[in-house]
Amino acid sequence: MLLKELTEASGVSGNEKEVRDLIISEIKDYVDSYKIDKIGNIIAYKKGKDFGKKLMITAHMDEVGLMIKDIDKDGFLKFITVGGIDKRILVSKPVLVGKNKLPGVIGAKPIHLQKPDERKRALNIDELYIDIGAKSKEEAEKHVNIGDYAIFDSDYVEFGDGLVKAKALDNRVGCSLLIKLIKEIKDISFYAVFTVMEEVGLVGAGPAAFEVNPDYAIILEGTLCYDMPKLDTHLIPTYLNNGPAISLIDRTTIYNRKFRDKIVEIAEKNNIPYQYRKTSMGGNDSGKIHTAKEGCITTAISVPCRYIHSTASVMSKKDYDNTFELLKEILLHFEKGEI
C-alpha cells in the first residue's frame, strides 16, 4: 500500500531524496511534465481542462527526524533534532541511521541507578545519544558519517477500528492524497508540488510558489489531533474520525473566507463529514504561498493525526477517504467554473 511505502521511506527535512525518488516513480506516468527544481521540490503539471485559473495542490515531503553531529570516543552518536520534536519522546526508542538505515537505539539510564528526583526531569538532547553497537569511534566511523540523518524506526501498522500507526503521517498522508489525485483526476489542469523542508521553516514553498505563481493553492497536510477526554471542546484542535480538518487561521495564514465557505458548502452538499481545525497554533506551506509575488488564495485541508511528530502517529482511514472525496469534489467545482 502506497501510504506504507511512503511513511517507511526516509525523508528528514533537507534529505528528502528517498521520498522524492519514490514519489517520482509513482507519478511520472500520470503527469504531463515534472521537474526537480533548484532546491529539491518536485513541480509536476497535469494537463486537463483549463478553467481560467492556475491551481496548485501541494504537500510537503519532509518529516521531522535527527541528524548526527558527532561521534564520541566510544562510538556513541551525538545528534540534534531536525524540525519540532518534543525531546521527551526520544528516550528508549529505536532509530535507523543513514542511507543504509543502520539500526540504533536511544537508550536511557536504568531506573535502578537513578535518584528519585532525577526521574522528574526531562532529559536534554545533549544527554542523549544513539548506540549502534560500535565498540569504538573507529568502528562507528566505518558505518556513519557526521551529518547523516536518522529516522524513527517505526513501521506501518493497521490496528483498531480502521486506524493506522506510522511515523511521518505528517506529511506522507498529504503526499499520498496528492499522488492519488494525480492518478485519478483527469479532467482538470493543476500543478502538483511536493515541497522540501517545510518542517524547518517552510523553506521549499516560497521558491515553488514563485515559480508556479498560482491563483489558488490547496495545501494538504497531516495536522494536530488532540481529542483527550474531558477536555473543553475549544481546546481540541481536531477529532479523529470527524473528517478532514479545514483550517481557519494559524501562525502563518488567515485562510480566505470565501474559498473556505465554498469548500464547506461542497462538503455539506455531498454529505462529506468535515471539521474545522480549531487551533491557531502551527503553520504550513500556505504561509509562504499566499504571499508569494502578488499573492494568491489558499486553503489548508488536513487529515487529523494523533501524536503528531512522534515515533507513533495515528490516523483514521475513514478520515483519509473522506479527505480524498472532498478534494475530488472541490476539483470538480473548479472544473465547472463554480469557484
Binding site: M67, G147, V200
Partner: protein
C-alpha cells in the same frame, strides 16, 4: 593591498547594520583593481563582477557573499546631564558592553565610556546579576546642550577597538564577524588573477545580515545567480563549549552540511578541497543556517547554496579571534571551486 592591512582597516571603520556606506570607499578602492566592474545597489550592497572566459550574457553566474555590517549600538535618548542611553543593533550580549570604550558616530566621532557602578557601592547580590542594556549609560564628557549639538537619536555607536596581533597568525578585534569573510572574498579575487574560470563571479559585500538579511535577499534577487556561496563565521572552539558544536581555529574553513546546502555542490566543494590540499572541517546545520546562505536559498525560484564558515572565537564580542591562515585557505578554496564550474558540469552538479 595586503589582505591583513585591508582587514585591519575595515575592522577599525564603522559600519553598523543599516549604516554600511562608511565602508564603501575602503572596499571599493581595494577591490576594484581585481574586478571588471563594481557598483552599489539600492540598499548599499557592494557588487563586484569578475567576468569569466565565456563571453555571453547567458554565462554561468556564481555569487559569493560576505556581510560587511557589524552589530553595534544606537543612541536612543539623551539624559539631562548629557549621558547617552542606547539600544542594540543586532544580537548583543549586554555583559560584553559594560565598561567598554566606545565611539559615538554623531556629526563627528566622539569618544565615550560605558559607565559602570563602583564595586564599593554594590550590594553583594547585585554583583551576580548581569547589568541590563537599559540601565547602562555612555558618558561622552559633555553637558546635554553640547551633546545635542553633536549627537542625534539614531546615531550608531561602535566599540573602540583596533585589531590586536596575538601569537602566530591569530588576530583579535571587533567585527571580524563578518569582515573576515570580506577579507576571504578579497583573497579569492587575488587568487583568481592566476586561475582561468569560465563563470562570471559576483563578489557581494552585503548589508544588514545581522538584523534581517535584507542585503542578501535583494542582491541575490538582482543578480539571480546559478550558485550562491555565503562566507560567514562559525563557532571557534574554546574550553567551555562541547567539541561537537564547534570548529577549530587553524584547521581551515568549515563546509556547512544540511538542508540549507545543496548536497551535490557540496560534494564537489569537498572534492576540490581534497584535490588542492586545502584544510577544511564540517559544520552540521539541520535547517536554515541564519546566514546569507539562507536568504539566497529562498530567493526567486530558489538558488542552490553553499556556506563556508571561518572559525571565530567569542562571536559577537569586541575581541573576536580568527586565524589569518583560515581566511587565506577560505579564499583559496573559493577560487579553486568557482574555477571548477563550467557549462559542462553545472547541470550534473545541480541535479538531485
Amino acid at each position: 593591498m595586503d589582505t591583513k592591512l585591508f582587514l585591519e582597516s575595515l575592522c577599525k571603520s564603522k559600519g553598523v547594520s543599516g549604516y554600511e556606506h562608511h565602508l564603501q570607499d575602503t572596499i571599493i578602492s581595494s577591490f576594484k583593481e581585481y574586478l571588471d566592474d563594481i557598483s552599489v545597489d539600492k540598499l548599499g550592497n557592494i557588487i563586484g563582477i569578475k567576468k569569466g572566459t565565456y563571453n555571453d550574457e547567458k554565462n554561468i553566474k556564481i555569487m559569493i557573499a560576505a556581510h560587511m555590517d557589524e552589530i553595534g549600538l544606537m543612541v536612543k535618548d539623551i539624559e539631562e546631564n548629557g549621558f547617552i542611553r542606547f539600544t542594540n543593533v543586532g544580537g548583543i550580549d549586554p555583559r560584553t558592553i559594560i565598561g567598554q570604550e566606545v565611539i559615538v558616530h554623531g556629526i563627528k566621532d566622539l569618544f565615550g565610556v560605558v559607565g559602570s557602578k563602583p564595586p564599593h557601592l554594590q550590594e553583594p547580590s547585585e554583583r551576580d546579576m548581569a547589568v541590563k542594556l537599559e540601565d547602562m549609560i555612555i558618558d561622552v564628557g559633555y553637558p546635554k546642550e553640547e551633546v545635542e549639538k553633536l549627537v542625534n537619536i539614531g546615531d550608531t555607536i561602535t566599540i573602540r577597538r583596533n585589531i590586536k596581533n596575538l601569537l602566530g597568525s591569530r588576530i583579535a578585534g571587533k567585527s571580524l564577524d563578518d569582515r573576515a569573510g570580506v577579507a576571504a572574498l578579497f583573497e579569492c579575487m587575488k587568487e583568481l588573477r592566476n586561475i582561468k574560470h569560465e563563470a562570471d563571479i559576483y563578489f557581494v559585500t552585503t548589508v544588514q545580515e545581522e538584523v534581517s538579511m535584507a542585503g542578501a535577499l535583494v542582491s541575490s534577487y538582482k543578480i539571480h545567480p546559478d550558485i550562491g556561496i555565503a562566507v560567514d563565521v562559525g563557532f571557534g572552539s574554546t574550553p567551555e563549549l562541547p567539541k561537537s558544536s564547534t570548529i577549530e581555529l587553524g584547521q581551515g574553513p568549515a563546509i556547512a552540511l544540511g538542508g540549507n546546502i545543496h548536497p551535490n555542490l557540496r560534494r564537489k566543494l569537498v572534492e576540490i578541497a581534497k584535490e588542492y590540499n586545502i584544510p577544511n572541517q564540517i559544520e552540521v546545520n539541520p535547517g536554515p543556517t541564519g546566514t546569507d546562505a539562507r536568504a539566497m536559498q529562498i530567493t526567486r525560484e530558489g538558488i542552490p547554496s553553499l556556506l563556508l564558515s571561518i572559525p571565530l572565537r567569542y562571536m559577537h564580542t569586541s575581541v573576536e579571534v580568527v586565524d589569518m591562515e583560515d581566511i587565506k585557505n577560505t579564499g583559496k578554496l573559493l577560487a579553486f571551486f568557482v574555477a571548477s564550474i563550467s557549462r559542462d558540469n553545472l547541470e550534473g552538479l545541480l541535479c538531485y
